[in-house]
């Protein structure tokens, strides 16, 4: 997969990781995705720093979507405001898979989010979203 706007994706990752170190973020991402993320630590570091145009190990859109959900869950855990979590999540997804697929996934979130009035409901929604994208 080719990252379409490395700087924007990097900024989004930096915002969503809150106070976590990059290593702490990567550990948490592997934990949340139950080790199913086909992405090595060095590549994740480069994505977070905006230093790569090609995420070498991300072969499938499914992996991108898992990473998107996981990063948004981290944002919720780090007490990032709900609106920011959504905005930055959209930027990440669009950066990874391009706007058409991002819009497809995000359409549901855009319609669903106004009905989820607090962080706990958003987090539960993201966890369930991630679960259905995890390999069976």
């Amino acid at each position: 997969m080719r990252i379409q706007d490395t700087e924007r994706v990097s900024r989004a990752v930096q915002t969503l990781r809150g106070t976590r170190s990059l290593d702490g973020l990567v550990d948490r991402l592997f934990d949340i995705t139950e080790g199913s993320l086909a992405l090595d630590r060095a590549t994740l570091h480069r994505i977070a720093r905006g230093q790569t145009r090609v995420a070498r190990a991300i072969d499938t859109p499914q992996d991108c979507i898992r990473l998107y959900f996981a990063l948004m869950i981290v944002g919720c855990e780090e007490d990032v405001p709900v609106e920011t979590v959504v905005e930055e999540g959209h930027a990440i997804l669009a950066g990874f898979v391009g706007d058409p697929l991002a819009a497809l996934v995000f359409r549901d979130l855009s319609a669903t989010l106004p009905k989820l009035r607090d962080r706990s409901a958003l987090k539960a929604y993201l966890e369930e979203g991630l679960r259905i994208w995890l390999p069976s």
């Binding site: 549901d108 409901a121 539960a124 966890e127």
Partner: protein
């Protein structure tokens, strides 16, 4: 991640009701591929998340403060949404108090079908897992209105307490009468928690 049922706060709820709730939850899992989890959802009652691939299980998240009776209602309501084909891939159904526009119409339709399924009027997948006592017209009429509903529940609980105290329950263990009483109490508890299931029209005479 969302919790399993065992992590929910323990409430003073009837064992029969909890068993019925568990049976319905397993039925939903096995027949409709709905995996249920529990999590704090704030003002939201439940979420049904549908995957892109129809072969994969759907995810139902219920607020962890919901009682067993409320959870039973959510299962029947979700089964109605699925029967109506509302579980479109990548579309989330949110159950909360303030549905608007197209959502309100969808929820109203599901509510009507859920009521019909509950009283075993619709030939739905879920009907087989509901208590046989739901075919009782007498019970249905008694639970239709708030006043008679409260009175019926109170009377059923009184009969149960009396039966336990006098030892009749032990003597009649596994008899049709005790089974009927247990099921009737479950049904009364669920309709009290979700009056929209009552047959007295919208809101069930609330």
């Amino acid at each position: 991640m969302a919790t399993e049922l065992s992590a929910l706060p323990v409430r003073a709820e009837s064992n029969t009701l909890r068993t019925f709730e568990e049976k319905l939850r397993h039925h939903l899992d096995e027949r409709l591929q709905v995996r249920t989890r529990f999590a704090p959802l704030g003002a939201t009652r439940a979420l049904l998340v549908s995957p892109a691939d129809r072969d994969r299980a759907k995810g139902l998240v219920i607020d962890d403060r919901a009682t067993a009776a409320e959870r039973v209602y959510v299962y029947v309501h979700v089964a109605a949404h699925i029967a109506l084909g509302h579980n479109i891939p990548l579309v989330t159904i949110v159950e909360s108090e303030d549905a608007e526009g197209a959502d309100e119409m969808k929820h109203d339709l599901a509510e009507r079908l859920a009521r019909s399924m509950w009283w075993r009027g619709a030939d739905a997948e879920i009907a087989a897992s509901l208590p046989a006592v739901l075919t009782s017209r007498v019970l249905r009429s008694l639970l239709a209105w708030r006043g008679t509903r409260a009175l019926t529940r109170w009377a059923l609980m009184g009969i149960r307490a009396l039966a336990y105290r006098t030892g009749i329950v032990r003597a009649l263990e596994r008899s049709a009468a005790t089974a009927w009483l247990g099921e009737a109490l479950c049904v009364a508890a669920v309709v009290s928690a979700a009056p929209q299931l009552a047959s007295g029209g919208r809101g069930g005479g609330r």
